[in-house]
């Protein structure tokens, strides 16, 4: 066990964990932040996505010991009231079906729009293709990203 001081959603948090515990379980089991989801544990589906210093990271395969001074933002920290443009677009465009992958999809899209505020279809494909939606909401995800980026 080791003690870590990490910055999560703008707050300094102290947590005791083994060094190789993935951030997913730190967030979900130790901090009570369940917005990032467990989908595979090998970084293959994107349900666990979080932002570290604005970039998308697969929390299921990122040990807490790798976080250091990185600023972690989870879906709970993107906005507290659903006011982030992507959250609004996903609601307005009625994207979710079962909803389980959606927080990861939104986090990935947020990282994309931060890097490329006006993404092309190819940019969207590249940023989002590692994110499986088993309900098949891809068409609406693409449209919602375009709405949030002002392209639609």
């Amino acid at each position: 066990m080791a003690t870590y001081q990490i910055n999560v959603n703008g707050k300094q948090r102290t947590v005791e964990a083994v060094p190789d515990m993935p951030m997913l379980w730190v967030l979900r089991d130790l901090m009570g932040l369940t917005g990032a989801k467990f989908g595979c544990g090998i970084g293959a589906c994107g349900a666990c996505a979080i932002l570290v210093d604005g970039k998308e990271v697969r929390s299921c395969s990122t040990p807490i010991s790798d976080i250091g001074k990185g600023k972690v933002v989870t879906i709970e920290g993107l906005s507290t009231d659903g006011s982030h443009p992507l959250q609004k677009a996903f609601v307005e465009h009625d994207v979710p079906q079962c909803g389980y992958c959606q927080t990861g999809q939104i986090i990935a899209a947020a990282a994309l729009l931060k890097a490329k505020p006006h993404p092309t279809d190819a940019d969207i494909d590249e940023a989002m293709s590692g994110h499986i939606c088993r309900c098949g909401t891809y068409t609406r995800i693409r449209e919602a990203i375009k709405i949030a980026s002002g392209a639609k």
Binding site: F38, G39, C40, E76, Y100, R134, T137, R142
Partner: protein, 686 residues
């Protein structure tokens, strides 16, 4: 629309309504549907309530079905709110507790809307009638001279109006109406038939929606199970020395599905499983493989009968693999077993099944088992079995603590109740004029569906004289279950591939051939419209092909046109057009979503995924081996929803069966070669 499924809101609904006015009711009986339960409301207890109106005007609709992404919470609330003339912005949704009078909660077979539409309308109309009666009495006017709109009762002659919230304090002495009430004319609908967003959207996008895996109870421990490597394997020795040294591991217990490691967090439990040494005896299933199972299916199919002389014979076989459900949220459950009771939280398609099963396992009366239903991170039929609940119950009982038991992705993919593998033998014939004169489809399922072999309910929607369909089951140790569209996912997919071959043999256009033979006018219409929207018959680039297929079932009709290109060994999807006739589309936006989503299942299973059996177990373990469609592979999806005026159909399954054959037929159009096996590989075309 304000709603979110938090434990607090759930408890508020089931635990106490305070001074709220409650309409208690029963879903099953046609008569005596209503029970005025003012008294129950005062006591704050309402196990059978579908509708609750709070003094602030909030209307809470209790939904007795599981929402796994099909949007039934939204649809049911819309139906009730429509007949109530409720203010949609003040409608909330709660889940019904199991075992109450809300009726069976099993969710599957696209049955929810068809089963509950009439009942929910009556319940909404009854609530409205009682509110009108209360208002009329308070004003001293005739109830017939009042009308309702957006959560208010109005008396146009005097200009008086009162909100439903205000009326909750004036319900004393108002009795429930007798018999069936007159329902609204569809032309007067204000909520139903309108594109309406899902009630759970906001909680989903803020990460506050509660799935089974998100539940946390006081003092809860976490468990992960080390499972058998193959079906029917028996446990040998267990060495947990290393496991017990893993930081955070609390206990190791044997349960029916394997060895559970109990820990202070999920990661420690997973690490504990990795450190565990368990030996297994695979037994007689060691030699079972996809190839050995297939050999049994082919043998069971036998040979086709002789055809009369002078006809043009068409023969084909089609193979389907086992399919895993692979829901995004792996199986999981939270259980808190006490000496005389048990509380369960889970996303299950069968909450009352979970209650019965748990009561039986623990030797408790059913009412001592409480099952709190959460949202489901995908279902597709998988969550109709409650094996994950059984796991959590056994561990909680053993360690006497609340347990959250989580399956890993690999546990989930290798311990599913699979869509069966199947082998299909076809023989058909056309005469000199191109008219089909024979059709025989033999279907052999590996192990059958849910223990049943045979052809099930599916059949061809075409008028072919003397058409026959027969089926049976071949031996397999692999457990099977319902998967989106169930037997239609094999039988109708195969039929729509073979009808295309018949059209080709007849020298006819596949669209015209289908339309000429289709028995159902609704089916003809969706076929014709899909073709028109897709530009059927217009030229395509070299290497591209267009395929059509249709499906009629669950009260709906649908047709797909898919456009593909085949370059080398790569099949690429370019465009999908679907036209669906769901009868009355209660929520057209939801219907469109189901068709978009089911088509992605169609694309994934047509081109990419299948479960392989080796040494009696499942080879594939996670997404890299079972690669679902991704964003970059998606074609443009165009979905058209038309209203035939029929009663509303089910929608969860409808969008699947015509997708894969439309792709297979498009591959034929592009290459001149037929698909004999799913998932489609260019190297296996004939």
């Amino acid at each position: 629309m304000v709603t979110d499924l938090t434990r607090r809101s759930f408890l508020k609904v089931v635990g106490g309504a305070g001074a709220a006015f409650v309409l208690g009711c029963y879903s099953a009986p046609a008569s005596g549907l209503f029970k005025n339960s003012d008294k129950e409301a005062a006591q704050g207890f309402q196990p059978n309530a579908f509708i609750q109106i709070d003094p602030d005007g909030t209307v809470t609709v209790t939904v007795n079905k599981s929402d796994m992404g099909q949007g039934i919470r939204t649809t049911f609330a819309m139906i009730v709110a429509e007949e109530m003339d409720a203010d949609w912005s003040k409608v909330k949704v709660a889940h019904a507790p199991p075992g109450g009078p809300a009726g069976g909660q099993g969710t599957g077979g696209s049955s929810s809307t068809r089963q509950m539409y009439g009942t929910l309308r009556q319940l909404g109309a009854g609530a409205r009638a009682m509110l009108v009666a209360a208002a009329a009495k308070s004003w001293g006017v005739d109830a017939a001279s009042c009308k309702c709109d957006t959560g208010k009762v109005m008396h146009p002659a005097t200009g008086k109006s009162m909100s439903y919230g205000e009326l909750t304090s004036k319900m004393a002495g108002v009795t429930a109406p007798d018999g069936d009430l007159k329902l609204k004319d569809k032309a007067d609908f204000k909520i139903l038939g309108k594109r309406t967003r899902r009630v759970d959207n906001k909680s989903v996008v803020t990460g506050t929606a509660t799935f089974g895996i998100d539940v946390k109870l006081e003092g809860m421990l976490y468990a992960v199970v080390s499972r058998r490597p193959s079906f029917g394997a028996s446990m040998g020795t267990v060495d947990d020395t290393a496991t017990r040294k893993v930081p955070g591991v609390v206990d190791v217990v044997k349960i029916s599905s394997g060895v559970a490691v109990v820990a202070q967090n999920t990661w420690a439990a997973m690490e504990g499983v990795r450190a565990l040494k368990v030996t297994w005896d695979t037994g007689f299933n060691a030699s079972v493989s996809t190839a050995s199972i297939r050999a049994g299916l082919v043998e069971a199919a036998g040979t086709q009968p002789d055809l009369p002389a002078g006809v043009k014979a068409v023969k084909a076989s089609i193979d389907f693999p086992y399919l895993a459900h692979a829901t995004m949220e792996p199986m999981n459950a939270v259980a808190d077993v006490r000496d005389d009771s048990c509380v369960i939280y889970s996303g299950t398609q069968s909450p009352d099944g979970a209650q019965r099963q748990t009561a039986q396992m623990l030797g408790l009366p059913a009412e001592k088992v409480t099952v709190h239903l959460t949202l489901l991170g995908g279902g597709f039929g998988r969550r109709s079995a409650n094996d994950f609940v059984a796991d959590a119950v056994q561990v909680s009982k053993a360690v006497k603590k609340p347990i959250k038991l989580v399956w890993t992705r690999e546990d989930d993919m290798r311990n599913d109740h699979y869509r069966p593998m199947s082998y299909h033998s076809f023989q058909g014939a056309v005469d000199a004029s191109g008219t089909p004169v024979a059709w025989n489809h033999v279907i052999i399922n590996a192990g059958g569906r849910s223990g049943r072999g045979g052809p099930g309910r599916a059949g061809i929607p075409y008028a072919i004289s003397g058409a026959t369909q027969a089926g049976g089951a071949g031996p397999s140790p692999v457990p099977t279950g319902a998967w989106r569209s169930v037997e239609h996912s094999q039988i109708d997919v195969a039929n729509e591939c073979f009808i295309d071959e018949m059209a080709h043999a007849a020298g006819k256009d596949p669209l015209a051939f289908r339309v000429a033979l289709a028995r159902d006018e609704r089916l003809k219409k969706v076929l014709t419209m899909a073709a028109e929207k897709a530009g059927w018959g217009t030229p395509l680039p070299k290497g591209h092909g267009r395929g059509i297929a249709c499906f009629s079932g669950y009260g709906a009709c649908i047709a797909h046109v898919m456009e593909v290109s085949v370059v080398g060994n790569e099949i690429k999807l370019h465009r999908m057009v679907a036209v669906v006739d769901p009868g009355l589309a209660l929520n057209p936006q939801g219907v469109e979503a189901q068709v978009q989503g089911a088509a992605v299942d169609g694309m994934s299973t047509a081109l990419k995924v299948g479960i392989t059996i080796e040494k009696g177990g499942v080879v594939e373990g996670s997404w890299p081996d079972y690669p679902w469609m991704t964003m970059e592979e998606m074609p443009n999806q165009e979905v058209f929803v038309i209203d035939s005026g029929n009663d509303p159909s089910g929608m969860g399954e409808v969008g699947y069966p015509s997708g894969p054959p439309a792709i297979a037929n498009a591959v034929f159009a592009a290459t001149g070669k037929r698909v004999r096996k799913f998932p489609i590989k260019v190297s296996e075309l004939v």
